[in-house]
């Protein structure tokens, strides 16, 4: 099909000004599409800010330090302190669990597994990314949570003296810890995929040189792969963090949506920006909607910043490795 158009080009299409007009139209169309992408990113911020302002003006408490959430009462009292705390702590728990495992997976696929099976195993890990978050939530709520009771009880029994794990009520459901575990599973493929790509870029010469000098495989990884892949690992972790911060449904199903700052991560509690929006959306009045949009704006700004930093690190890495090869 394509050959025919090459050998028999439309005689009208290649003549003088009409060529240039066609090219110009096509160029402008494609550029307009590109500009539209930028416009959408900007429009998200602008519209969220515009619709958030009304509620912020009515808020009788400090938006950033208030923990409770009563935007539809008179006078409205609401703030994001508890939401921000829950979002960050849940994401951090997920990061602590996921980053080491994800780096292990990336190493396994890039430098330990044999070439023949590596791509298949990589595909298996990527499949985890294809599971919709609502299914993670359903599984986390009705399979993982009951099965984690014993484990959490064990942690509380032996490590309860650490304030973070204290749980005097001995109720082990709907906690930040469980949400963190589910989030960790969800961000594993994101982190390991980016890390894997960077690890595969390590120059073969460096690897062989270190092995020839008598390094064990682990020493090679420590002295060649990690230094080379460090920026990539950092940015992969930040991409995972961005995903963890913005995850909605799985977290909304697992956490018990409490509007207070509570450091005890094994107790029922916790709440996040995204989960709160999903849970409160249909019961919110006009001011409530505006308040939820305001919290969404904060989430958007945070994830945008995290993603931008991650991408900037990776972009610099690309230039470096390009110059190297």
């Amino acid at each position: 099909m394509s050959q025919q158009t090459v050998t028999k080009p439309d005689p009208v299409g290649i003549r003088g000004s009409s060529v240039r007009r066609g090219d110009r139209i096509f160029f402008n169309l494609s550029r307009a599409a590109g500009v539209l992408m930028l416009a959408i990113t900007g429009a998200i911020g602008i519209f969220l800010a515009w619709k958030a302002i009304p509620s912020l003006q009515t808020d009788s408490a400090n938006f950033f330090t208030e923990q409770s959430w009563f935007p539809d009462s008179v006078p409205p009292v609401f703030g994001i302190a508890a939401l921000a705390f829950g979002t960050v702590v849940t994401a951090l728990v997920a990061m602590v669990l996921a980053v080491p495992v994800a780096i292990g997976i990336a190493l396994f696929i890039s430098h330990y597994a044999s070439r023949r099976v590596a791509s298949t195993l990589g595909f298996l890990v990527d499949l985890l990314a294809a599971v919709p978050s609502i299914i993670f939530g359903l599984w986390g709520l009705s399979v993982l949570m009951p099965n984690m009771q014993g484990f959490i009880a064990w942690i509380v029994q032996y490590f309860g003296w650490i304030p973070l794990f204290a749980n005097p009520e001995q109720v082990y459901t709907k906690s930040i810890l469980i949400a963190g575990v589910v989030l960790a599973i969800m961000i594993l493929p994101t982190i390991s995929a980016v890390t894997r790509e960077v690890f595969l870029q390590v120059p073969q010469g460096h690897i062989e040189a270190s092995l020839a000098l008598g390094a064990t495989r682990w020493e090679m990884v420590k002295m060649v792969v990690f230094p080379f892949g460090k920026p990539g690992m950092v940015s992969a972790a930040m991409l995972g963090l961005g995903r963890a911060l913005g995850e909605t449904i799985a977290v909304a199903l697992i956490l018990s949506a409490v509007f207070e700052i509570n450091w005890q991560i094994t107790e029922p509690g916790g709440n996040t920006f995204a989960a709160n929006i999903a849970l409160k959306w249909n019961e919110a009045g006009p001011n409530g909607l505006s308040a939820l949009i305001a919290s969404g704006l904060v989430l958007f700004i945070i994830t945008l910043a995290v993603n931008m930093i991650a991408r900037l690190i990776v972009a610099r890495r690309k230039e470096y490795s390009g110059a190297n090869s």
């Binding site: 992408m37 292990g104 997976i105 396994f108 978050s133 682990w218 913005g246 249909n282 994830t303």
Partner: protein
Amino acid sequence: MSLTTNENRITTEELRELLAGRRLPKWAPWALAGGAIGISLLLLAVGVLGGVAQAAVSAGVLFLVGQAVWSFRIEGRRHATDRFATTLIYSAFVVAIVPLVAILFSVIQKGLEVLRPEFFTETMRNVSSRGTGGGILHALIGTIEQVLMATIIAVPIGVMVAIYLVEYGKGKLATTISFFVDVMTGVPSIVAGLFVFTGLILTFGLERSGFAASLALVILMLPVVVRTTEEMLKLVPKDLREASYALGVPKWRTITSIVLPTALSGIITGVMLAVARVAGETAPLLLTTFLTQSLNWDLFSGPQAALPTFIWDQISSGTDPSVNRAWGGALVLILFVALLYVGARIVAKIFAPKTR
């Protein structure tokens, strides 16, 4: 030195030991693994360990410690560390596969319980949350319509952006667009829903409908489509383009009739993967449509259900029959996504450019 002073000839075994140091025998890890599993099973049988999960963890720890100690005594610190790290790296992979298998197992096992033919042909209309029965027809229709509409809008725009970036993109504008496409991939799905709600529903009076949901999905699909299309366009050899220019074909005709057909299989694969990703999105749908239990063919008006929101609704009801229905919905959703993945692979094979 020792080689020459020693009167007896040395065996290859000893030579290797002199050069590379003493190593553990090849069967050592297998023997250790067998021993660790054996001891754990014994402890499980005696009743010291509470369950299979605990036995697995204990076997892992025994193996890790046993190997480290043995290796340290014979091979020294460096090799002991190496073996320790290798074991951890292998187990990291296992740790990732366990939840994948566990989730698929739960979804298939619990989903099959409610999966009858009627599950696909009935809606939830007039089905009480405490009663069994009902089906997902309304949700299935909603998901198909919404995802199809999102694809129809997102693909042309996304492909055009990719063309701009690959074929025309030079200078600041292209770099900026490329950067923000990457950043957009990380925008939380709920923010996409918020954007459609504030930008189109509140500001321009768009109805909360299946179409509004499609638009939210477009925001999530666009960056994925752009990225994958871009990768595919980059793979098209420069020679093809130059041959076409040399024949006097204008650039836009070269792109539409040479570059795009060559990259078609990759683009379709990428699009199907993007569809698979947004088909399971719940949060943006919750903000842009209303839930319903009835069938609604009209994408543009009235509340419309979708598979993810159906599952959400059934979990929220919390009764046993509705949670069972949620598992059924989850199985159908997974099958839907899996179908798209398999389809993507088949399409990639069929439309792949013939290599002589």
